[in-house]
């Protein structure tokens, strides 16, 4: 229907974005009715999302005319931004930015570099940047999941961890079970994506390739390649994050510094 109303591709895109936004806002209102308040976060995320992706689209237009190596700087900037966002999700966790930067940088960065060298990812900016960004974004999500789960596991098992410390255990060993749980749970989305590929969902990249006239078989195989790369970069990020995060919960004297956050006292009403 929109295609009939909007002949120009740009105005059509704006109209499609408006419809998608309305749907997201409707979900937000449904949540609000259930007293789940996501208003501010949803609106900020939607605005940020449209501004950021439009900005990237504009940058890509410029980059397409530039040399291939410029994409390296763009991907590096994406890694820094991803680390900052992931760390922002893990407030209260010491050194979360450094941990995120190293984990996402090494996890996604090494997979991008390796796959580009192997010829799996095309070196053209139009291929390297979108696929690289997919790997970075998924590595960021995994990293955030590891950090959050690790924090909540440590906070809820602080007594057991300190019991281990009091018995002379190595600090890293006392949190080892919680590191393991954090990594396993953070990889569930990546594993599920791989498992459900083609059955539950046909990802955007494949749809895009089909739309641009690629062979459906090649598009399907390349989609598998992409999801496998996402799994590898997410897995590597989770492992590196887990190695780095263990130490950040303790002081040099092996004291647990990541303590349960004080729970805010419930508001006292003025009821009769």
């Amino acid at each position: 229907m929109l295609k009939v109303l909007f002949a120009n591709q740009l105005t059509l895109g704006c109209a499609q974005a408006a419809v998608a936004t309305l749907l997201a806002l409707a979900v937000m209102l449904l949540a609000r009715q259930r007293k789940i308040h996501l208003e501010r976060e949803t609106i900020v995320a939607l605005v940020r999302g449209i501004v950021q992706i439009t900005a990237v689209g504009s940058i890509l237009v410029l980059l397409l005319r530039g040399p291939a190596w410029t994409s390296v700087f763009l991907l590096a900037a994406m890694i820094v931004a991803a680390a900052a966002m992931s760390a922002g999700r893990s407030k209260g966790l010491p050194k979360s930015f450094q941990v995120s930067l190293y984990a996402i940088g090494a996890g996604a960065g090494s997979v991008i570099a390796l796959m580009t060298c192997a010829g799996v990812i095309d070196t053209r900016v139009t291929s390297l940047v979108p696929i690289g960004s997919m790997l970075i974004a998924n590595a960021m999500n995994t990293n955030s999941l590891v950090l959050n789960r690790f924090r909540s596991e440590v906070e809820s098992h602080a007594g057991l961890i300190e019991t281990g410390l009091a018995l002379g255990a190595d600090s890293r060993q006392t949190v080892a079970p919680y590191v393991q749980v954090s990594v396993q749970s953070s990889l569930i989305p990546a594993i599920d994506s791989l498992r459900s590929l083609g059955i539950v969902w046909i990802p955007g990249l494949m749809a895009g390739m089909l739309l641009s006239g690629a062979s459906p078989i090649y598009a399907a195989v390349y989609q598998f390649v992409t999801i496998s790369m996402i799994f590898s970069s997410s897995g590597l990020t989770a492992l590196i994050c887990s190695l780095l995060i263990r130490g950040s919960a303790f002081s040099p004297a092996e004291q647990l510094t990541l303590r349960p956050r004080p729970v805010a006292a419930p508001a006292v009403g003025r009821g009769a």
Partner: protein, 207 residues
């Protein structure tokens, strides 16, 4: 505060909630870092002792008995294993006899009562052969019957092992029953220290 804890004594730290009893105990095995001053263990500044070695020498039993998933024997083996020692079955049996849990080494800790869990916690702390044992209100989360049992156990273990005990308690009567000396704390400060008769007056309150 400046306190000298004598080797082999049972020192009970008493005071109301928030007096700093647990904080004092946590400083003694360096689970927390002092903001000023230090602790000396046999005259040596404890910051010169590696934390893991310090905590082996200064064991701790917490208010809540946090047991590791597995059997009672697994819990007793945990501390010595951290120092590369495999605890022999005979030692496990001997420790369990001490805490009146004889023959229950292979029992899953998930099935223990609060009092039994606390007894495992005491045995586990003793398994590392500490020189000092810190007991942070070990009976406060137990019912009266279990409380009496643990108290008797502590007295018996104190006599048998000849360790130095520092126990936090908010119960003055319990302190009088157990302690060689009582240390009274209030608002993070040392109020007084002495024998039960020196610290408690005839009415059962502080002098």
């Amino acid at each position: 505060m400046t306190v000298e804890i004598r080797a082999g004594e049972v020192l009970v730290v008493v005071g109301p909630s928030g007096a700093g009893k647990s904080s004092f105990l946590r400083l003694l095995n360096r689970l927390d870092e002092p903001t000023g001053g230090t602790v000396r263990l046999e005259g040596i500044d404890y910051r010169q002792i590696p934390p893991r070695e310090l905590r082996r020498r200064v064991g701790m039993v917490t208010q809540t008995a946090y047991l590791f998933p597995g059997t009672i024997a697994d819990n007793l083996r945990y501390g010595p294993l951290q120092h590369g020692i495999e605890l022999p079955a005979e030692t496990i049996d001997a420790l369990l006899i001490q805490v009146r849990l004889a023959g229950r080494a292979e029992e899953d800790v998930a099935h223990l009562s609060g009092g039994e869990a606390q007894r495992v916690s005491v045995a586990r702390a003793l398994a590392t052969k500490p020189e000092v044992l810190l007991l942070d209100e070990p009976t406060s989360s137990l019912d009266e019957e279990a409380k009496g049992e643990i108290e008797k156990l502590i007295l018996m273990v104190a006599k048998q092992n000849g360790l130095t005990y520092v126990m936090a308690s908010h119960d003055l009567a319990q302190a009088a029953r157990v302690a060689d000396r009582i240390m009274v704390m209030s608002k993070g400060r040392l109020e007084k220290i002495g024998t039960a008769s020196e610290v408690i007056n005839a009415e059962g309150t502080f002098r």
